[in-house]
């Protein structure tokens, strides 16, 4: 039985060692989930990995939608007909989905609808660290935050119940630490799925025409105030210390660090743990503050709780001394850890920080090791060819607009690909707006999945503006960065020619762009030729650089028992260093003045053996 099957089939009471995201997926299955939709994004992706592996067995609908907004629309439609539904995404995916979410908040839902957002403090794999708790205020929707994998599973069931009871979507917010922490989780039985049932109250229920929305706004306010009265306080836990002087209020990951610091240093601090951060459990907060005159607030990112608690104290005339971010006891930026929380707590209490450990200085022998494109990655070949073509055409200063995916790593040396990289699909929109693109050629990169997600409108705009850009669609037949999920161009990684695939060529031609070629980037000569020709075109020109992801290919080759490795012929190697300087494959290093290939790291793509990379033809099959 596969790992994910074991999670699906675990019996009531069984204890598993689950990733936060796996606990969330299990919790949704336990809640009788019928429909799940997502667009993959770290740190939320493993929720979908689990569903993708088990959805047939679980008798549910699961899809990798084209983007987060569509994913929410799919889940909403299913909820409107009484089925429990879920949509999940990374924090910036919520920006894409929010247009639909703001209206769905007004119309309400029927079958439980949970909208999960996984925020990424410290930007481990994101372009910003926005705090999505603010979406709860913006949309007037309830928001639940777990602190451990066990809670993640348990709270999901609660979220479905609340959603259904009040006919409103519920936002479920995690952060990287909660999503990517593994811990012991005791599972509960799987619930029966809800029956499909048509809605009753007339055809205007899910219609946001102004006159209907006008009325719905009042209903929305009623729902949230009922949830405040009846639900929010249930998610509160008070852990009392011996003395009543100090209290701490916390939620999410902040609670886990706080709890470990309080236990480790034996601090006499009572803790009010909050599970529903919108609407806030005001009664519990006021009671807690009344009992504890000094309050420390521990939360990551924005002072979301702190601002509300300070306002609440003002409103109720409660005196409290509050220590938080707003008076500089805790930082606003980045992920917390035990050290940051300990330091803030001791500072609040006016005590000397007991931690004496100070980091030493890093050895000079240690070299930076930033993430790199894998050996055999087709993007490396594309970047190499484009850089060379630009140089040959005297266009090395051309503006290059890139996008979100593994190929974002092109921004590093030696490729230097990405003067711009903003958000999903933005590469082409920017290319169509660069003023000099009216006369001077620019280059644009986007991946296959990102192109489908939100690159197509940009390309239509580029066509309308007759933008002088060469668009290179890096089609590696998979959504690689988030862990190898399928996308509309490659619906089945095991069958790359699946009839379900939507050919990118047809979309580009349909827009009216006639200059479209498809090239295998491993063939550097052909790639160089294509890029060079594209520079002569008037208006947008598209090159589809198609070659499956090296990780995907590796897995298939290994299964088939094939493993080709390249080596350097030391006699022929002149030590010119071009391969390491310009191609920069992690399998190639420099030893004794010559290039050397590590057979354990070589992927066997053979691109380095082409004369453009090695003019001395010193690299050959081992």
């Amino acid at each position: 039985m596969s790992y994910y099957d074991e999670i699906l089939e675990a019996k009531n009471g069984q204890v598993l060692f689950l990733l936060g995201n796996e606990a969330i997926a299990r919790g949704a299955l336990e809640s009788g989930l019928s429909t799940a939709a997502t667009y993959p994004g770290t740190p939320s992706s493993e929720v979908g990995d689990l569903f993708y592996a088990v959805y047939k067995k679980a008798g549910m609908h699961f899809e990798y939608s084209v983007n987060e907004k569509v994913a929410l629309e799919v889940a909403f439609a299913s909820s409107s007909l009484g089925l429990r539904s879920m949509v999940f995404m990374k924090h910036v995916g919520m920006n894409v989905a929010s247009d639909a979410m703001m209206s769905i908040a007004y119309t309400g839902t029927r079958g439980g609808l949970v909208i999960m957002t996984a925020d990424d403090p410290s930007l481990h794999s994101s372009q910003n660290e926005q705090d999505n708790r603010h979406y709860a205020d913006l949309s007037h929707l309830p928001l639940i935050e777990p602190s451990t994998p066990q809670e993640a599973k348990d709270f999901i069931s609660e979220a479905f119940d609340i959603s259904e009871k009040y006919m409103t979507p519920v936002i479920f917010r995690t952060t990287t630490m909660i999503s990517h922490e593994r811990g012991l989780v005791q599972v509960s039985p799987l619930m029966e799925k809800k029956k499909l049932s048509n809605f009753e109250s007339g055809k205007d229920v899910y219609n946001s025409l102004p006159q209907f929305a006008f009325r719905n706004k009042k209903l929305l306010e009623e729902k949230i105030s009922n949830i405040k009265a009846q639900e929010s306080e249930r998610f509160v836990r008070v852990e009392r210390a011996d003395e009543n002087e100090w209290g701490a209020i916390s939620s999410g990951a902040g609670y886990a660090y706080l709890k470990d610091v309080v236990s480790k240093y034996g601090l006499s601090i009572s803790i009010l743990k909050i599970g529903m951060t919108n609407p806030l459990p005001e009664k519990a907060i006021i009671n807690f503050i009344t009992e504890h005159p000094r309050i420390i607030i521990v939360e990551e990112l924005d002072p979301y709780l702190e601002e509300k608690i300070r306002a609440l104290c003002e409103l109720r005339g409660v005196d409290a001394i509050i220590y938080g971010k707003m008076n500089s006891y805790f930082p606003y930026d980045y992920e917390f850890n035990m050290d940051i929380v300990r330091s803030g707590v001791f500072k609040s209490m006016g005590k000397q920080d007991p931690q004496s450990f100070a980091k030493g200085t890093e050895s000079l022998l240690v070299a930076p090791r930033t993430p790199v494109l894998c050996s055999g990655c087709p993007h490396r070949a594309s970047f190499f060819a484009v850089r060379r073509a630009l140089k040959l055409a005297g266009m090395s200063d051309a503006k290059i607009s890139s996008d979100i995916g593994c190929y974002s790593l092109g921004a590093y040396e030696p490729y230097d690909i990405g003067d711009y990289m903003i958000s999903m699909g933005s590469s082409i929109g920017i290319a169509s707006g660069i003023p000099e693109a009216a006369s001077k050629r620019t280059v644009t990169f986007i991946g296959d999945s990102t192109f489908f997600h939100s690159g197509i409108p940009g390309l239509i705009n580029a066509k309308l503006n007759n933008a002088q850009t060469t668009l290179i669609i890096l089609d590696n037949r998979i959504t690689a960065m988030t862990g190898q999920q399928p996308n509309p161009g490659s619906m089945d990684p095991d069958d790359l020619d699946s009839k379900l695939n939507i050919p990118i060529e047809n979309i580009v031609k349909g827009i009216g762009i006639s200059s479209v070629v498809t090239v295998d980037p491993y063939n550097l000569g052909e790639m160089l030729h294509a890029v060079n020709e594209s520079f002569k075109v008037d208006g947008p020109s598209v090159i589809i650089s198609r070659r499956e992801c090296a990780i995907l290919r590796d897995a298939k080759e290994r299964k088939a028992g094939r493993h080709v490795v390249y080596m350097v012929d030391e006699e022929k190697c002149s030590g010119c260093g071009k391969c390491v300087e310009d191609f920069a494959c992690p399998a190639i290093s420099f030893k004794g003045g010559k290039a050397s290939i590590d057979p354990d790291q070589c992927d066997g793509c053979g691109v380095c053996s082409e004369r453009y990379v090695c003019p001395f033809q010193a690299i050959e099959v081992a």
Binding site: Y257, K259, P586
Partner: protein
């Protein structure tokens, strides 16, 4: 009482898998275990680390200075963490170097292995082991991390029996890989027992 293991390596080396293996063994030994994982852009080819915390703790990342053991899947990655952990931390270091692109691009070579080890030794007890070479001998370079797991078991830094590790391997790997991993684990265990005896090392 808590025991904190930090696994340092290069993205793609199986940092998460070996973390899960140690965790599973810890759970079989009736401990509470939490583990941090890294996924996404931050992984391939870059410097990565995973924490395994065994004991009555909630958050998956320990306080600075409280790591008990660094398992370095690559020597320079071990050295990278040397100044970031307390002097009590014992280092298990795989001797197989992987040259970072940042060096290769400047046509620079990997620093001499003995210098890298010596710099770690300046502040820490080091147990070197050529896990990659042992894995090659077992017949599969991909089981090198089980060699290191065997080494960890031999040090008794974690309160987990050899049997619990073997059961964890059996649960985690398919039939063919299972045998190779057990062989690798045993080789790492035996090598390290021998190393500790030969060098008269007594770990707390």
């Amino acid at each position: 009482m808590e025991t904190n293991i930090l696994i340092a390596g290069v993205g793609g080396q199986g940092v998460i898998t070996v973390g899960r293996l140690i965790s599973m063994a810890g759970i079989l030994a009736s401990h509470n275990v939490v583990m941090s994982e890294l996924h996404g852009l931050a992984q391939r080819g870059g410097s990565v680390s995973v924490n395994v915390r065994i004991g009555n703790v909630i958050s998956p990342i320990p306080e600075a200075g409280s790591v008990d053991c660094v398992m370095a899947l690559e020597p320079m990655e071990g050295l990278r963490y040397s100044p970031r952990v307390g002097k009590d931390a014992v280092f298990l270091v795989n001797l197989h170097p992987m040259t970072p692109i940042s060096l290769s691009m400047e046509e620079k070579e990997y620093p001499p292995l003995f210098s890298v080890l010596n710099e770690i030794k300046r502040d820490h007890q080091v147990i070197p082991i050529d896990a990659t070479d042992i894995a090659h001998k077992v017949g599969n370079v991909r089981v090198s991390n089980s060699v290191l797991a065997g080494s960890l078991a031999a040090t008794e830094i974690v309160n987990i029996s050899r049997d619990d590790f073997i059961v964890a391997i059996t649960k985690m790997f398919g039939s063919k890989l299972k045998d190779q991993n057990i062989k690798a684990f045993d080789s790492g265990y035996d090598f390290t027992m021998g190393y500790l005896e030969k060098n008269h090392i007594l770990l707390d």
